[in-house]
């Protein structure tokens, strides 16, 4: 690990982000319990749902699907900032600029959450059926949704970590803030259940706009959080 981090160079932000990203990936590969933990969480929640109801209506399916995404996201993203000790953070800050650190985290979390949402979509398809008409397009919507959720929660996890709180405060901070994105996502996905050709570009554009806003805000505000 130290050999890897020694290569972080403040002069080359892209390289710094890439190195920090590789560090996170390496940690994830070495401590696989967290990845499998989230996977198991998704699987067991879904199995409980599967046993308590059979073949939900499209509206109910939609609500359940995005709710489960929300809970998976809080679990998957929370540990990104909460797992590392204060001492290790201080060490990172001697090596890299805070903006590169937060961008690396955002990148890692979006990839992790994108993967998780795709896995949970497959699981939903297997256990609770598929009300959507075009699988490829719905796949894209779910990927976009996973990315949107993870961006907001990554930044809030940084706040929660600095407040020295557990994951509970992350849910309190995040659930109201994520509601606009969730409403947009549910709007986009319900149109996919009834009409084969319907695809409204405006909500998608709004969602991407909100994502860009979150990234910009994170880079502006993150240095203030980590200042000691």
């Amino acid at each position: 690990m130290p050999e890897l981090l020694r290569k972080v160079n403040i002069q080359q932000p892209m390289q710094a982000i890439w190195t920090l990203f590789k560090k996170d990936l390496l940690l994830e590969i070495r401590q696989q319990y967290s990845f499998y933990g989230i996977l198991l969480y998704a699987l067991s929640t879904l199995f409980v749902l599967y046993l308590s109801m059979d073949a939900p209506e499209p509206r109910v399916w939609n609500g359940l699907f995005w709710m489960i995404q929300l809970f998976i996201c809080t679990n998957a993203v929370a540990k990104g900032f909460l797992q590392e000790s204060r001492g290790r953070w201080l060490y990172y800050f001697t090596l890299a600029h805070p903006i590169t650190i937060v961008l690396a985290k955002l990148l890692f979390n979006t990839i992790l959450m994108g993967l998780m949402s795709l896995i949970s979509l497959v699981l939903f398809r297997l256990f609770l059926g598929a009300p959507f008409l075009d699988p490829i397009r719905f796949f894209g919507i779910v990927l976009l949704g996973g990315i949107s959720l993870s961006l907001v929660f990554s930044f809030l996890a940084a706040i929660a970590a600095k407040a020295q709180q557990n994951a509970a405060i992350l849910a309190i901070l995040g659930f109201p803030l994520i509601l606009p994105q969730l409403i947009l996502l549910q709007q986009i996905s319900t149109t996919q259940f009834t009409d084969h050709s319907a695809f409204d570009l405006i909500p998608v554009a709004l969602l991407i706009g909100l994502d860009a806003l979150v990234v910009i805000l994170s880079t502006i505000l993150f240095p203030f959080i980590w200042k000691e």
Binding site: I172, L179, L221
Partner: protein, 238 residues
């Protein structure tokens, strides 16, 4: 310890606030209103309900500006101001939600059905969703503040959350009505109502002073709380 900013000690804006509110209540309850079908005399609630939302938005904006100032100057007075303007904004938000829900129970829903029965249908309206989201976000802000024991860190982290929440929230409140259907006045993406076209001129001469009066009252409450906090600090660290 630091002094309260000088404008907080001035009398003129407090007195004009009282005068404007007295005018609002007298002219608002006695003045002429167009008797529209369905709305009838309930339209007088406009002087109270809508002003609460305008006041809330203004107070939250002041709060976020104070949060930005805190991050730039690290002066504790800005943190106190940010906290207490947000607190009064939330009070206004709660009052606005309550007055709006009651109003809707008599105009959107059947007044013969008990309020508790019709509430779950009314609360689904995008304007009410937006209102509920903003209140939840600011409640979370208070929880976050109280969960951090260290004063400086509390100020910094809650200022960051305040800015983040505000910047995410307010576009969302403008976006949601565009993608969802609503009964609330001000269609086509306006978050509240179109003051120029929705309100008659006779009502506008009460409405504008009412907004200013309620906002001044909110600022007054907030400044009193800020000054009490500063005095408490002075007492403990003379």
């Amino acid at each position: 310890m630091s002094q309260a900013p000088r404008y907080m000690h001035r009398h003129w804006w407090k007195i004009s606030g009282i005068i404007l509110l007295a005018y609002t209540i007298i002219a608002g309850l006695l003045g002429p209103v167009p008797k529209l079908p369905l709305l009838q005399e309930t339209i007088r609630n406009l002087y109270f309900h809508v002003c609460m939302w305008f006041g809330m938005m203004i107070l939250f904006t002041v709060s976020v500006v104070q949060a930005i100032l805190y991050l730039r100057k690290m002066d504790r007075r800005h943190d106190l101001a940010s906290r207490h303007f947000a607190g009064v904004g939330m009070l206004y938000g709660l009052l606005g939600y309550a007055t709006g829900a009651l109003w809707a129970a008599y105009t959107w829903a059947d007044p013969n059905i008990p309020f508790a029965e019709s509430f779950s249908t009314i609360a689904r309206d995008p304007k009410l969703i937006g209102a509920a989201i903003s209140l939840l976000v600011y409640f979370a802000y208070l929880v976050l503040r109280d969960s951090i024991p260290d004063i400086d860190r509390r100020a910094r982290i809650s200022a960051v959350y305040n800015i983040f929440a505000y910047v995410i929230l307010f576009p969302a409140i403008w976006i949601l009505p565009r993608v969802l259907e609503s009964l609330h006045p001000g269609q086509d993406g306006n978050p509240a109502l179109d003051v120029k076209n929705d309100i008659s001129s006779g009502m506008r001469i009460v409405f504008y002073p009412a907004v200013i009066g309620w906002t001044l009252l909110g600022v007054w409450i907030a400044t009193l709380r800020i000054r009490t906090e500063l005095l408490k600090e002075k007492q403990y660290n003379p």
